[in-house]
Symmetry: C2
Subunit: 423 residues, 2 copies
Amino acid sequence: MSELTALSAELAARASELDAADELSCLRTRFVLDDAVYLDGNSLGALPVSVPGRLADVVYREWGELRIRSWDESGWWTAPERIGDRIAPLVGAAPGQIVVGDSTSVNVFKAVVAAVRMAEEEGGGRRDEILVDATTFPTDGYMAESAARMTGRTLRPVTPAEVPAALSDRTAAVLLNHVDYRTGRLHDLPGLTAAIHEAGAYAVWDLCHSAGALPVGLDEHGVDLAVGCTYKYLNGGPGSPAYLYVRRDLQPRFDSPLPGWTSHTAPFAMHPSYEPAPGAVRGRVGTPDILSMLALETALDVWYGWSGGGDAGGAAHEAGAMIESVRAKSLALTDFFLRCVAAYVPKGRVESLTPTAHAERGSQVALRCDDAGDIMKRLIAQGVIGDFRHPDVLRFGFTPLYVTFADTERAARVLAETLEGAG
Amino acid sequence: MSELTALSAELAARASELDAADELSCLRTRFVLDDAVYLDGNSLGALPVSVPGRLADVVYREWGELRIRSWDESGWWTAPERIGDRIAPLVGAAPGQIVVGDSTSVNVFKAVVAAVRMAEEEGGGRRDEILVDATTFPTDGYMAESAARMTGRTLRPVTPAEVPAALSDRTAAVLLNHVDYRTGRLHDLPGLTAAIHEAGAYAVWDLCHSAGALPVGLDEHGVDLAVGCTYKYLNGGPGSPAYLYVRRDLQPRFDSPLPGWTSHTAPFAMHPSYEPAPGAVRGRVGTPDILSMLALETALDVWYGWSGGGDAGGAAHEAGAMIESVRAKSLALTDFFLRCVAAYVPKGRVESLTPTAHAERGSQVALRCDDAGDIMKRLIAQGVIGDFRHPDVLRFGFTPLYVTFADTERAARVLAETLEGAG
């Protein structure tokens, strides 16, 4: 038996042990999966088994039979805030602060403009600068640029590490990513939020790559505003609606740049003048996109049926506890993947961009190599599905709800073989 | 036989004749309908028979099996512009000018801001006024107000009739509704657009209550920008995505206030700086909402399978021809409804707010009476589904694709009985 074969046998055995001890392992059957190793749940989460049936009911009965009556009778009208409350415990928010709807991009615009207006209310035009994560997923930067242009502020891109030094009494708002989409680096949300508040500015966090993969603690850390998508670790389906968090005490001051009729305090009175609703509803805009929204609602069931349920408070508590288990498994998976990669892949062939420190790691591993585009194509052909990020990054996302340690060992092994074949 | 019974027999017979001669009657079977008379398709269109099967395929196969590959392989990525091209012939637009996504409210914001920026490009800040239809569906007014605030313009509400006199060299943009949501009045799109252009301003039309019910002629009349929803006469489903039209020659100057990553010329290059794509794609924002969008795509089949099809140009021509037939039937339906109401309902019990002139009528009839809220509840309980608009309007929408003349006679008869019972 060669050294590599022995090593592989050892790591495969270890994977079996870890899977046997995994308290979340029963959740895998809640998703539609096949023989592939799906490590792209950080781009599009797998299909929850419960979604097709629910969606058929929404279409046939709620739309087809009840039609217009469903806005009331099937709870369509209140879906944005109801589903917001289902997401809330996963990101550490009490109910009544999250509303679902629109895309992440649109919610970034709402949040940044609203943050600038809050700063203006206090300090006038003196706070004339918006800081944005220079390494951000591009759309956040584009939307922040538009928000700056339309509020007469200057946009200043800085890395998250540079934020504390860049803060001043000119800072109105700071837009940051909780986890970097490319490297998988987890930024220090508590520390950065505190520094932003120390400077008298408002913190807007993008949770796209953290919500559903690790605890966020929005309320605990006093985050002002946050946005996120629901089609990654929340498994809401392709392009499912995003969400907006506005901290409860800031809601009366949330002055939306997109004051659509569904955020009106009396939407069916059809008043010609706008009077915003209280609470999270104020973050709504147009008519909610029901099919996608109710698919998402059902996809979130997995967070609530884990160990029995109970009343609403109990269910929220349970979902909050589950995210801790998810985080523990996420770190164990990425640790194990890095260990397998180190064991199987010749030194120097790939370089990990993902921090080794747990406190700095999200739920993905990013490996750099010059031929990443070609390698990812070959991996996918062999049933290991990650994604390629231009120009040289192999990205592997680990969704603890359905990725196993055996998957993880196999992915690293196939990666090593592929790199060798391409080398 | 009483006079009323004789009248009713006569009108019912007339309804049978009209239904027998209706060239669109075969389309009714393409929708899921029941024994009720559904006159609320101007709020939520009925379920097309083709949608549930297509949606199941999207969920099970495209999402569940292909997962992330579907962005390319199932054509998800290009859906917004592809579906825009399917809507185009229905509103008189050549391909490449319409993109689907976001809500109507969000698209109103994009369109009005972009129109103001076009005016500014030419005349600087001199054009400091936005005119808005004072009788508009409220969200248009709220969004126009926000657009005015964020571009430093003044919003001036005027009735559509007052627009010509209100136009001046201070006017940057005018936002109007093609059909009034409350009264069903059809405004003079060609004449008003010409007047707006004469004044050097930009015309933005909201087509929510006209698209799919009557020909719009966007290209023919030189409309600058237009928006509309897809869940009324286009039957896309609850909250299905809206669309944005930007006339081809204006596209290079379309400067979006919501420049999301999917409108970038190279979205996957992840450039930190924004460079807008050419064409209709420039109107996109975030990740498209696939489930709702593909349900809409299938719902639009009814416009293309009518008399055979052919190549893309032929199909567009056919859809354009069909909208003419739809308009003819729509007018016949609303004429017949008004005739039945006049015959059955005692004079003075209700007052029609809908113009009698065809050139001024959309595809709905609005009847005013003091007890409208109560009456509509009773009508619905008897299987005549219209809707109530605060404070005193009974609104009946006529979707020519599935409403029959027999439905129409029955609705008027039940209305008369209900009014009598409540009187």
